[in-house]
Amino acid sequence: MEAVFQISEDILIACVKGEIDHHNAAPLRNSIDESMKAFGCSRLILDFSGVEMMDSSGIGVVLGRYKKLRKNGGTLCISGCSEHIERVLDMAGVFSLIRMADDIENAICILQGQEQMRMEV
């Protein structure tokens, strides 16, 4: 498991690769939180297109980041879910809280769209 980070404006994009389980959920969580802090980002994209397997520990990582971001007025979008990952996240009702995009570009559009809507209001 590893995560590669990219920045687009104030959006942090975390491309997660490999398998997410209880053992590597903690380092993954820490590396995302540290990068958010280091780059001062309030918006996050979790890209799962490189993830082969994920157990329920992944739900904790996603919901944990969601709660943290919401507390600071930030937003989160998920992209690149395989059918397997979508199924696991859907079991916990994650998509009633967090938007899902097909790919990173789409996710950026969603996050920027949300920002624009907020400005119009």
Partner: protein
């Protein structure tokens, strides 16, 4: 029964990946689909994590590392495409199995637990049985029927 394997490993989180890879390697000759294999790996990962986190997690560590606590994994395959996976620990056991199996139930020790482990096992496998005795340990038995038509 056609084939069986049994392994025992230390109750360490780093062995979760080993356990699911071992199960996947054992079932590989049955020619499962990638989806079936991912489902099996995920279910094994959940069961083994439960043993490590809940079965042994709250017991005092033996020596420096908890290397003396062991988790057992048994995999069996049958000619009709049925596979059975058993994960056993000799940890503290589950006080209320029914409650533990409820979606979103978690002992909530602030570690971002989702409480979805048993739900994931239930949905990725065809049958799930949990037997537990307090102070003795827990056994999770999972059954799945592989779609073996293509292999014939």
């Amino acid at each position: 029964m056609n084939n069986e394997m049994k392994i025992e490993f230390s109750a360490l989180a780093e062995n979760e990946a080993f356990a699911r890879a071992a199960a996947a390697a054992f079932f590989m000759p049955l020619d499962p689909t990638i989806e079936e294999l991912t489902e099996i790996k995920t279910a094994v990962s959940e069961a083994v994590s439960n043993s490590i986190i809940h079965g042994y997690g709250r017991l005092p560590q033996k020596q420096e590392e908890n290397t003396e606590y062991m988790v057992e994994l048994t995999c069996q395959s049958f000619s009709n495409g049925k596979v059975m996976i058993t994960v056993t620990d000799h940890g503290i056991g589950i006080e209320n199995v029914e409650q533990a199996m409820e979606p979103l139930f978690t002992t909530g020790d602030g570690e971002e637990r989702s409480g979805m482990g048993f739900t994931v096992m239930e949905s990725f496998m065809d049958r799930l049985k949990v037997t537990s005795e307090q102070g003795k340990g827990t056994t999770v038995t999972m059954t799945k029927y592989l779609d073996i038509v293509s292999g014939l």
